[in-house]
Symmetry: C2
């Protein structure tokens, strides 16, 4: 198929979605890819490149040569192009940008100047704006002229003579209106917009809340771009993945294709940190060596107490981190949440504490041991729950990502606290325990 019959090949390609074309492209041997690129037109190459993995994107752009890659890059969505180029060295990037039209390369460079994870990085300028005094007929004419420039979303944004965003109409509104009606009479004028430096999570929250397909980005009232829902789905997925990475301290951006040594390198910092915190736990235990060697049975309950305290902290942490995704938290909500978790800690503390006290009594035949283990567990569970709630809230307050108080950190902190409480209680009752 990919050898001779150019016509037949092109007809097949024309009917496929970009994702599928990219899949075929990735699967053919590298030496045939140059021919593949010769067989399709620049619009198709632009669509194809946007769907490829990063390394194949560069390969393809290099294969094309400066001039043609410039043409292709002119056609790519600016936000996608910006996120591709930012991974290149400065020289390579400037070389590629030199092949583009001046105004297009300027836009891409502007996008790259916005901080990461903001609306500015996600926005595209491939949208059609119309003026508020246009009639429907004028609008349709403008649409026919600029058809290829618009991402396929449903909205047209309306600006006044100062380029200020004043309204929005949908393609459907245009179809349903009469030819001579004016845009300003049919547009919806209470447009919700963001600025270029709005955090991408906030943009996602607005789009999710209002079920928008896109949201306009303004700079001092002037419309500068739009963020579309497909970018937002990617944001939602990557933010959730980041939360999970942080909560489980599993290392940044490890997927199925990551090389073993890279994955190990990304996970090691956490593990070495844990190792040293483990030494701290060890030092605490060594302080209680006498207690422990007197009542060796104390060691039996160590993993249980540490494990449960660690887990209860993670449970609270997960609730707070996920809750912050869809809700803002003020002082009042924070206080309510802490009070709620205090109650949760007390309930689960008393139930688990009494349960383990009974088990310890039956298993080791010592009421005092039961009392020590049970009362320690009540205290550590309450403290664990509160730590898992308060620490991420403080981080949130300080504008630090609360998920960074990740699972293992909270777990290990709780480990240390629980060892102190447990061995402290045991030392207190050491005479009764013997």
């Amino acid at each position: 198929l990919k050898e001779g019959k150019k016509n037949h090949f092109q007809k097949t390609i024309d009917e496929l979605q970009p994702y599928d074309i990219a899949k075929i492209y990735s699967s053919i041997p590298a030496k045939h890819r140059t021919r593949f690129l010769l067989f399709i037109n620049v619009e198709q190459i632009a669509d194809l490149i946007q769907e490829l993995e990063k390394d194949l994107q560069f390969e393809a752009l290099t294969k094309l040569g400066i001039e043609k890659s410039g043409q292709v890059m002119d056609l790519m969505d600016n936000d996608d192009l910006a996120s591709l180029l930012e991974h290149l060295s400065k020289d390579k990037m400037e070389e590629l940008l030199s092949g583009m039209k001046k105004e297009e390369s300027k836009i891409v460079q502007d996008i790259m100047n916005y901080p990461p994870e903001t609306a500015g990085r996600l926005m595209t300028n491939r949208f059609v704006w119309i003026k508020d005094h246009y009639t429907i007929r004028e609008t349709v004419e403008k649409l026919k002229t600029f058809a290829e420039y618009s991402e396929t979303i449903n909205y047209l944004y309306v600006i006044d003579q100062n380029k200020h965003l004043v309204g929005v109409v949908s393609y459907r509104d245009i179809i349903l209106a009469n030819e001579n009606e004016k845009i300003q009479d049919i547009m919806y004028s209470r447009v919700i917009s963001v600025t270029a430096d709005t955090d991408q999570e906030e943009v996602a929250r607005l789009i999710e809340r209002y079920d928008f397909l896109a949201i306009p980005v303004v700079d001092n009232g002037v419309l500068v771009g739009i963020v579309t829902v497909d970018d937002i789905i990617d944001v939602v997925i990557s933010e959730a993945t980041e939360d999970i990475e942080k909560l489980s301290a599993s290392g940044k951006a490890i997927d199925f294709d990551t090389k073993a040594y890279v994955a190990a390198y990304r996970r090691l910092p956490w593990l070495i940190l844990l190792l040293f915190i483990g030494i701290v736990s060890g030092t605490i235990i060594s302080q209680f060596e006498e207690t422990l060697s007197t009542v060796v049975a104390l060691a039996f309950f160590m993993p249980m107490i540490a494990g449960m305290t660690g887990n209860t902290g993670t449970q609270s942490l997960a609730v707070v981190v996920r809750g912050l995704i869809t809700r803002e938290v003020d002082r009042k909500t924070a206080a309510q949440l802490i009070f709620r978790e205090l109650k949760v800690g007390l309930i689960i503390g008393f139930i688990c504490g009494i349960l383990i006290a009974l088990i310890a009594l039956v298993w080791q035949g010592s009421a005092v041991l039961g009392l020590v283990v049970g009362s320690s567990l009540i205290m550590t569970l309450v403290i664990g729950t509160l730590a898992g709630t308060i620490i991420p809230l403080i981080l949130y307050r300080l504008n630090v990502d609360p998920a960074i108080a990740s699972g293992p950190l909270i777990t290990t902190l709780n480990d240390i606290v629980s060892l102190f409480i447990y061995f402290g209680m045991a030392t207190l009752f050491i005479n009764q325990l013997m």
Copy 2:
């Protein structure tokens, strides 16, 4: 505002987004809500109700009385209505359905018959279909007639005389085409569709992959509904939340508003399970009581070894669970992944093992203790990594949600294994350790 001036009030409401109306409605005292509902029309009530919390939804429907609530429910999106009604008792549900138009209530009941988390549950019938032999002019006329029936997405689905889905056109295509062109000549005919029983994660994957705004649902080729991107964002968010809930065993559906005893009740099963697994760990340690009482220093390294093994398992687990969201895994990918994680386990095992051996040597002044601790850590880290990879893959293979092999389960399993290895090694070298 909400008291007297009905006209002014209505004008304000008309300009607000449903989400904001819902926020105002929720914030006013319950006794004023009835009056609020009287002041706005049924379309607005329908939009409002879709944005409310579950309990306020029922409250509002009850306030309206059977007849008016029926009118409102006729106007609601069928998928939203279905997910509201499924939480009611059978009697209450039938009472509410009785106020609706026959054909509308039938559709809602049909939706509720699909299994949860499938395309059938998410789809709406509020879309406009057109026939392939329509001209653009006929299409526009049909659109004008059915304007209020369509969700505001960009696509029109095209069916043939047998109601089979044969193509799709966008509103933009309609605007750009000539009045006399036929739909079948401008439509895109390689439509990607799903069936009503397609899993919602698969639907989300397709919409994300192809950047669609909606995807059609077919039953034996016949178009029965569409799933829109706003529902998919909700799916992506709730699936990610579920993953986090399972990975951290934080209990189902606990948010900031959950009552303390409900939250405690949802978390307790995990904690009690952990408690009993903790007893198992304790029993293992008690088997090695002699070893432990001979060399109490062994206890110092217990939390570190268990903690690190648990965490390395969670790291692998998180990679597998998140990877499965965007990728299907076949036998070959699984084998590659396991091999990769084996290598990762070996790398981090040797680095951390040698490090802790040196620390143990310096701290406790015993080369044998260093050897025991270090070699145990190497083994437990390799096993922990593999367990965190293989267990979720097996569950995936068995069509069980892999996230259910949740953090604490993998952690605790690794706890037990690591205790066995550690004390086993120690017992082996007990003469040298003394």
